[in-house]
């Protein structure tokens, strides 16, 4: 894996604007940045990213199967008790998942490490599936990239196929998001086009405009009944909203299904480590409450004593703390040799229980730290989107970098 400086397409900003990709620059900083690109070999893609991510998703499904039946885990994951049934039934009914994005630390050598799994509301889909794809096609045409190069990006086709698998033909699907947020909206529109290509009806509704009818069904901002809802809105919030009480009786089918509440929760990381300790793509992870004393010289919680002992040396070298609910790096701190060495400013999630995960330092390429976003559609890894940040904690002003496969 290398970072290669490449000439930009001279007119890409005009093209981005014409296509409706309005957030290519954000806050005066570039978001889409094609002054350079990451080059990976086919072997790196297939053996280090694709296969392990598909396997990790399968492990995640095992973790869900365990957690939905465990009062202890549902409690630790802070799933509101009135909705344990809803979550469990979504799993036992086999409600299918649509998509997710695993964030991986990877430097071209050694196993990629799962940092977290945004399995519920991942964004940057349009940039990954479409604008990145266009970049490769155009750079090949311009002769900047060889015609033999490729890209790990079957996202769009995989999404079309997945929609057709999980919905009856011609299902009317509502897509809900915060319409004032162009990034969220772009992800939803990318999903909606794939759904329409799969023969579905796609209708956008503003999330806050959703209503409940006199019969207890959900309706969109134009009073039309919602049968199937794709919501770019996290389950952890949905289950705490006033309308959560109507979910079970409404006949509403939600995508992602409610069991994704287990995966998008950072408490998943200690759960995975408990079930699959030592897995090459996982980092040792614990609830902070179980090991905080031990890191100060005291004793860990008895249930994790052995696992802590096995990981202690690695944790003392460095670990990261993060709230079980958090997005875009909020509330994340890095500790090395017992001292806090980096933290994000945004602490809006820091009142939630924290988890602690061994530090997998992100590699540095010319002053930037890339995080690899491995896209899962259905149960398989089908694409890659890389974001990089000057800081070691990737946050919402990170840059999206295109990648290509060569060699």
């Amino acid at each position: 894996m290398e970072k290669i400086t490449l000439p930009e397409r001279p007119d890409w900003r005009i093209e981005a604007e014409a296509l409706g990709f309005t957030f290519a620059d954000m806050g005066g900083e570039p978001y889409w940045d094609e002054t350079s690109a990451y080059r990976l070999t086919l072997q790196q893609i297939e053996e280090d990213i694709e296969a392990p991510s598909t396997e990790l998703h399968a492990l995640c499904r095992e973790a869900v199967a365990k957690a939905v039946l465990s009062e202890e885990w549902l409690t630790r994951l802070d799933i509101p008790r009135p909705y344990w049934d809803l979550v469990e039934q979504s799993w036992s009914n086999g409600e299918p998942e649509l998509y997710g994005r695993m964030d991986l630390a990877y430097d071209g050598k050694g196993p990629a490490k799962l940092l977290e799994y945004n399995a519920d509301t991942p964004t940057s889909l349009y940039e990954s599936a479409s604008f990145q794809w266009l970049w490769l096609e155009e750079q090949q045409k311009r002769g900047v990239l060889s015609p033999d190069t490729d890209q790990f990006n079957a996202l769009h086709e995989a999404l079309v196929e997945r929609w057709a698998e999980i919905c009856e033909p011609a299902t009317e699907i509502h897509f809900a998001a915060d319409k004032s947020n162009p990034e969220d909206y772009a992800t939803v529109e990318a999903l909606a086009w794939a759904a329409r290509e799969a023969g579905m009806g796609a209708h956008f509704t503003d999330l806050a405009g959703i209503g409940v009818t006199e019969e207890g069904q959900f309706a969109d901002d134009k009073d039309r009944v919602i049968g199937t809802l794709f919501k770019l809105y996290p389950w952890e919030d949905m289950l705490r909203d006033d309308f959560a009480a109507y979910l079970q009786g409404s006949g509403l089918r939600c995508i992602e299904p409610a069991w994704k509440a287990i995966l998008s929760n950072k408490g998943l990381l200690p759960l995975l480590w408990e079930m699959f300790p030592g897995h090459p793509n996982l980092l040792p992870a614990f609830f902070e409450a179980d090991v905080a004393e031990a890191l100060k010289g005291g004793a860990p919680a008895p249930s994790v004593a052995d696992a802590f002992a096995a990981a202690e040396e690695q944790l003392r070298a460095g670990y990261v703390t993060k709230p079980i609910f958090s997005r875009e790096g909020a509330g994340v701190s890095i500790f090395e040799r017992g001292h806090e060495t980096e933290r994000t400013q945004d602490d809006s999630y820091s009142h939630h229980p924290m988890i602690l995960q061994a530090l997998a330092p992100l590699p540095e390429y010319s002053g930037f730290h890339p995080v690899l976003g491995a896209w899962i559609v259905g149960e398989a890894c089908v694409g890659l989107g890389i974001r990089e940040d000057r800081a070691r904690i990737t946050h919402n002003l990170s840059r999206f970098k295109p990648h290509f496969i060569e060699g």
Partner: protein, 199 residues
């Protein structure tokens, strides 16, 4: 190249909320034709080369009759039924008469049926029964699509052919009275939030 790792095509254009909402409603239209009875359908099919055959007329008229019995609204009094469907447009419920039970034994009369071509969606010919509305129009049983006549051709929204439920609950996209709004989006796990909901 041994094995291609990227899609052969993608969706490149972000059209915006208004366009997505509109496109979904306006583009999903299919050819449709309505008939007051089976004979007029067969006559039309034999006269012209249309998207349906005389055989389609027979199959779909039978299907529409059955669907009418399953999904058309039922009322406890003829007056109530006529309020919704117009004077003289209601009759006894044949199912209730046969089974001899139930307090809801009046329903609007079957006034025709509509055929739709679902060729573009990989289907064949679909049908829906039609009943009268209070304002003198013709509607499918779930009532969300109404038409001036039960005779004629045109393009109608695909969801016209979505079956009405025979049980409780209204089908997707039908219009409903909203009791309250704004119960989603409070985003309560974040103490302060100016960001969107994704990440």
């Amino acid at each position: 190249m041994l094995k291609r790792k990227r899609s052969r095509h993608v969706a490149l254009v972000l059209a915006g909320t208004a366009t997505l909402a509109l496109a979904a409603c306006e583009d999903d239209r299919v050819d449709a034709q309505s008939f007051p009875d089976l004979q007029s359908c067969i006559a039309a099919a034999e006269e012209n080369s249309l998207f349906f055959t005389a055989e389609d007329c027979r199959t779909n008229f039978a299907a529409a009759q059955e669907e009418y019995l399953e999904t058309a609204p039922r009322y406890e009094s003829k007056e109530l039924c006529e309020q919704q469907h117009g004077a003289g447009n209601c009759g006894d419920d044949p199912v209730a008469q046969n089974s001899g039970g139930g307090g809801f034994s009046f329903m609007p009369l079957l006034m025709g049926y509509m055929l739709g071509s679902m060729m573009s969606r990989g289907g064949g010919v679909f049908s829906q029964p039609m009943v009268r509305t209070a304002d003198g129009r013709f509607a499918t049983p779930k009532g969300d699509q109404s038409f001036a006549s039960n005779r004629g051709a045109g393009k109608v929204p695909t969801q016209t052919f979505t079956r009405a439920p025979s049980t409780l609950g209204k089908p997707p996209l039908s219009s409903a009275a909203v009791a309250q709004r704004g119960g989603f989006g409070q985003s309560s796990t974040a103490r302060s939030s100016s960001r969107g909901f994704g990440g």
